[in-house]
Structures are given as structure tokens and as C-alpha cells.
Symmetry: none
Subunit: 203 residues, 2 copies
């Protein structure tokens, strides 16, 4: 077989495999299952979009779990608000603020492990329709948590449970595993123009 014919055959085999994958996806198109969503990028809206989804889920009478991995130092408006609904929302704030505030890597690692234990419990609970893992990407980026272990727990969750992971710098393995990935890109930001972070907007 000549080089060209061999190349054609390889191409055909590859296209057949691709068609099989596409056909399988189309066949699966009717399925409903829990999605893994990732909100990343340098722009605003990664966390607030996840919290908008929490409001949406609560509107549908669903139960929600939230784990905030990093922002624990500041009491945010979302936390104050969603804690008003203890029957529908399990809200956990872990960590002790951003890493440039703590400046202690070993303590950050220990806190991240504690936070993940809480997340695992939510990811194992079929009554929870939506799990928000806020700023998990930061904990992964700094190596505070192992991606493989995190992904294994996420993939072992109940079939109908949705998971949203937020934070800058989502690792490629997480993007690969996700169903839906949105990059919030900064076009311009008032902070660049010297405006203070403001209550109700930034925190």
C-alpha cells in the first residue's frame, strides 16, 4: 500500500471513529444529567454567576450546597443572604482569605483539605441538586489540592447533581472534564480607573 493510500485509510478510520463519537453524542442528546460547569477568566462574574444559579435553583425549590474555598476572611453579601434559607442552602465558608493575606502555605493546604472534606460530603448527597465550589480553581492552581482526587470525587457524584467550579486559572484537566466552560474576560474594570471596591458590587 502506497504512502498516500495509507494516509487515506488512516484518515477514513479516524473519521469513522469521529462519526461514532458524534453519533453517540447525538443519541445521548436526549439525556438529562448533572452538569459540571466551570467559570474562569480574569473578568468579573465568576462567583456572582454561580450565586445567580443558586437563586435560580432555590426558585425551583431545589437544595443547594456552597463551599467557599478562599474568600472566607470577608463576610460577603451572598453569604448573609443565602444563610437566610438554612432548609434549602448548606453554606460553608472555608479558608481564611486570599493567599496573599495568609502568607502561610502549610496552613492554606490544611484548610483546603478541610474544605474538600466538606465538599465531598455535599458531592455524595443526592438531595443536593447544585454544589457551588467557589474559588476552588485557586486552591488547585496553588497546588493546595490534587486535581485527580478532586475530579474523582466530582465524577462520582449523584447522576442528577450539578456542580459549578469558579476561580481564575481553571486547570486544563478540569476544563477537559467539564460540560460547560465560560471564560469571564475583563474588557474594562472600574478598579483599573481607581474606584474603590464597593458594597453590593464587589463583595
Amino acid at each position: 500500500m502506497g504512502e498516500s493510500a495509507e494516509r487515506d485509510a488512516r484518515h477514513q478510520a479516524r473519521m469513522q471513529r469521529k462519526k461514532a463519537v458524534v453519533d453517540e453524542k447525538i443519541a445521548a442528546a436526549r439525556d438529562e444529567y448533572g452538569l459540571l460547569l466551570v467559570h474562569t477568566g480574569n473578568g468579573k462574574g465568576k462567583s456572582s454567576s454561580a450565586f445567580g444559579m443558586v437563586a435560580r435553583a432555590l426558585g425551583h425549590g431545589l437544595k443547594v450546597g456552597v463551599v467557599q474555598f478562599i474568600k472566607g476572611a470577608a463576610s460577603t453579601g451572598e453569604e448573609a443572604f443565602f444563610r437566610r434559607f438554612p432548609e434549602q442552602v448548606r453554606y460553608h465558608v472555608m479558608g481564611e482569605g486570599f493567599t496573599w493575606e495568609t502568607q502561610d502555605r502549610q496552613r492554606d493546604i490544611a484548610r483546603a483539605a478541610e474544605a474538600w472534606a466538606v465538599a465531598r460530603a455535599l458531592l455524595a448527597d443526592p438531595d443536593i441538586a447544585l454544589v457551588v465550589l467557589d474559588e476552588l480553581n485557586i486552591a488547585l492552581k496553588y497546588g493546595y489540592l490534587e486535581l485527580d482526587a478532586v475530579l474523582a470525587d466530582i465524577q462520582a457524584r449523584p447522576a442528577m447533581q450539578h456542580v459549578v467550579v469558579t476561580g481564575r486559572g481553571a486547570p486544563p484537566g478540569l476544563v477537559e472534564a467539564a460540560d460547560t466552560v465560560t471564560e469571564m474576560a475583563l474588557v474594562k474594570h472600574a478598579f483599573q480607573a481607581g474606584v474603590k471596591a464597593q458594597q453590593g458590587i464587589e463583595f
Copy 2:
């Protein structure tokens, strides 16, 4: 010094430099005033991020106004949820669904004008800390509303009031006038792989 201790020390030095930069930026940002934020792009999270900000504002005890310009046809989870707080949220659903549903341009223009009259009232009320103009960009893109008139009303609002405008295809004049603009970019979407739009995630 062992490898791990060295890594920790490097981490600490890096975080100290980062904290100095962040602190300097915060000190430099003296002004506080109401911001105009725009959420645009083809990705997810434009509206849900605005609704996350609503939750945040409610957590701070602030009052919020919402005008949904286009999505009126569907009763969403957010609407069901935020209507539970009539003392804090003025929630207006205008329009009659997406334009490819109505297929009547003159009716859409009339509905957009009615919606803008409601928005103007919110933009004139200093008790409202945050006004969400959901899918306003679509009404502007189709020419249902005049950008100049819309911007004049937005710019005449109370000094401390924040405004969030959402929707694909934000017009350049709006981006120019905005303090903060985020483009939600689609990296990948479960719908591309054939998954049905799901309650609590898409609507």
C-alpha cells in the same frame, strides 16, 4: 533548607509582594460612586451574574430593581425566587419572549418602550441601590430602543446607584460609557454536545 521549606519561603515572598501591590491599589482607589456594569458575550453567566449581584445587594439590606426586557415569556427560577422579597426587590418582566417567538417588530418596539418607562422610574429612584436591565442589549441591538436616550437616562441616575446591563452584543457606545465590562466567552457548552437545557441551570 529543604526543597519544601524553600518552596514555602518563595511562596511567602511572592505573596508579600502581591499583597503590597494590592494594598497600594486599594489605597489609591478613593472614589465611591454608582457603577455602570455591562455583561456581554456569547457565553453563559451574563444574567445569572447580575442575579448573583442582586443576592449580594439583598444581603447588605439594599433595595433592587429588575427589568427583564426580553425573557418575559418564560417564568424563570430567579423570578420565582426574588419575588419572595417584595419589600426589597421590584421585579418587572416585560416583553413577550425572544423575537423569533413573537415575529412582530412593531409590537416588540412598543413593549420595549413600555419596559424602558419602567426602567426610567427605577433609575430615578434614589432608594434603589442596584438596577438590573436584563437583556437590554438585545433591545438595543434590534433597534427597539435608542441608545442615546437610554444612556441619557442611565447617566442621570442617583450618584450612588449601580446599574447592570446584560445581553449579547453590547453596543460600542454602551461599552464606552460603562465603568466595568465583562465579556462572557463560550469555551464549551453542554448544549453543543446535545444535552437538553436543564431546570436550575439554563432557566
